[in-house]
Symmetry: C2
Amino acid sequence: MNNFGIAIHGGAGTIVRKKLTPKLEKEYRAVLRQSIVSGYDILKVGGSSLDAVQSAIVVMEDSELFNAGKGAVFTHDETNEMDCSIMCGKTLECGAGTLLRHVKNPIIFARTVMEKSEHVLLASDGAEQFAKLHNLEIVDPKYFHTKRRWFQLQVVKEKETETETTRAILDHDGDNSKHGTVGAVALDKNGNLAAATSSGGMTNKRYNRIGDTPMIGAGTYADNRTCAVSTTGHGEYFMRLVTAKDVSDLMSYKNMSLKDASNEAIKKLSAIDGSGGLIAIDKNGNITMPMNTPGMYRASFSNGKQEPLVKIFVEE
Amino acid sequence: MNNFGIAIHGGAGTIVRKKLTPKLEKEYRAVLRQSIVSGYDILKVGGSSLDAVQSAIVVMEDSELFNAGKGAVFTHDETNEMDCSIMCGKTLECGAGTLLRHVKNPIIFARTVMEKSEHVLLASDGAEQFAKLHNLEIVDPKYFHTKRRWFQLQVVKEKETETETTRAILDHDGDNSKHGTVGAVALDKNGNLAAATSSGGMTNKRYNRIGDTPMIGAGTYADNRTCAVSTTGHGEYFMRLVTAKDVSDLMSYKNMSLKDASNEAIKKLSAIDGSGGLIAIDKNGNITMPMNTPGMYRASFSNGKQEPLVKIFVEE
């Protein structure tokens, strides 16, 4: 029996027990479980790691709980602008999108770019023109207009001072918001790795800011010779460190284990005062999910296990 | 006397002698010389590597000859959309822009994002709003409307077949176009490295395609512990390999020399059928400029040398 497995995250940040009601915690755990089982079931019957990560992410994109798809946070201009990426570890092919405003499931968009376009990253109106051409589901921006996210934006705006450089707020750092980007990594029975990430970015972001999610190497990386990685947290720091590719390079060039390489990447993140976490799976099916934050919504499910592991707080 | 030096490129591709008239070749060499001297003069008097790479790139952006700034190629929709990035090897801070249509010097925009914004990458209208806020020079899109680039687009469009996935053409691969992205890397007297890249992307590009130029790690990377790198060529392949960061990691994790690491990165590019080149300088002032194409507009100037080296063809 070949090794296979999947890990997912629903964002890292200051997620602590006192901030999460038992009801909300239960809801998070339920969607995380539904997401990982959806991906695992594909792997179990011999499906591809690309299909598994896509399926797991669609579940989180369709939930209001996570900052991706339906639950995407609001920009300063009160729009929702989504980022996404996916990568195939076998071919190193990848697809990504940014500044998406009407695509229901950004991760399906990223997959379509990977498979149907000569390009890697498409943005904004042009990207949505491409999405329509390939018959992806397009929704009215109102679809992304959730009460909770709207409230979060108002809270942030009320706190703004009258400076020209008003700060954007990471989803998980606001008092009423404890989660960010979603991601998934998987190894299938054929030994192929895949990684994918989807995000609504930062509450109150301005100037069409693009985060690390659509950056191949920063938010997402997969290479069959090493590992598949998806990151979550303060994107600008992951961009400076090119964190996902860094984990792969530490394994490839320094012969580090997945765990050591991932811990080293988080150590580097801490060294430049960045916060966040990552999920990673290697070519042998080992999984690690380190973070330097109090929590990260996450789950893992490997072959041989009866049940998925679903976790939120760092100490679990 | 401390080591210092600078290298620049003006794009790699199928640049061969028979395609370049003696007059045009002379013009290219003159602008390359002007660019590198402008950066070198800053380093010589103790200026920063960031100022040097910016100055060298502004010279190329202001020339019609290179695919950046004034000479940017046209998209399918007959607009000019520019990408740029800059990185400081001392702090790992970086700034980048994409889908810029009105900023006269994209590289100054990237520098401003790095220094004045909490973000790394800003795009499109939001980016230009930020540019105006910081009093950068804004020009009418007509400024980028050069006869030569317009003609190149028409030639490409005439060749198009009636498929939905009309191909974008790399600047340097068209019959009448032999050059692409511009870039610069430098080491200053204080031991600080910097890298920067600026590009108009691909002729006839669609769907708001974003290339490797604004991707920290793919098109640009700088780390004082290793090297500074700027790439040029078929961006999608550099994005898959995260080439600029790869050179840095091969030095850092495998203890390779700058030259070996850079050659290894180009070998990987060739292995996935990507084409292009890169320029790199290490913390000791060594410079290398490998490519897998017949040519790359390039120049280097190190302390101790009386004159810059200016080259175009691979065999020079």
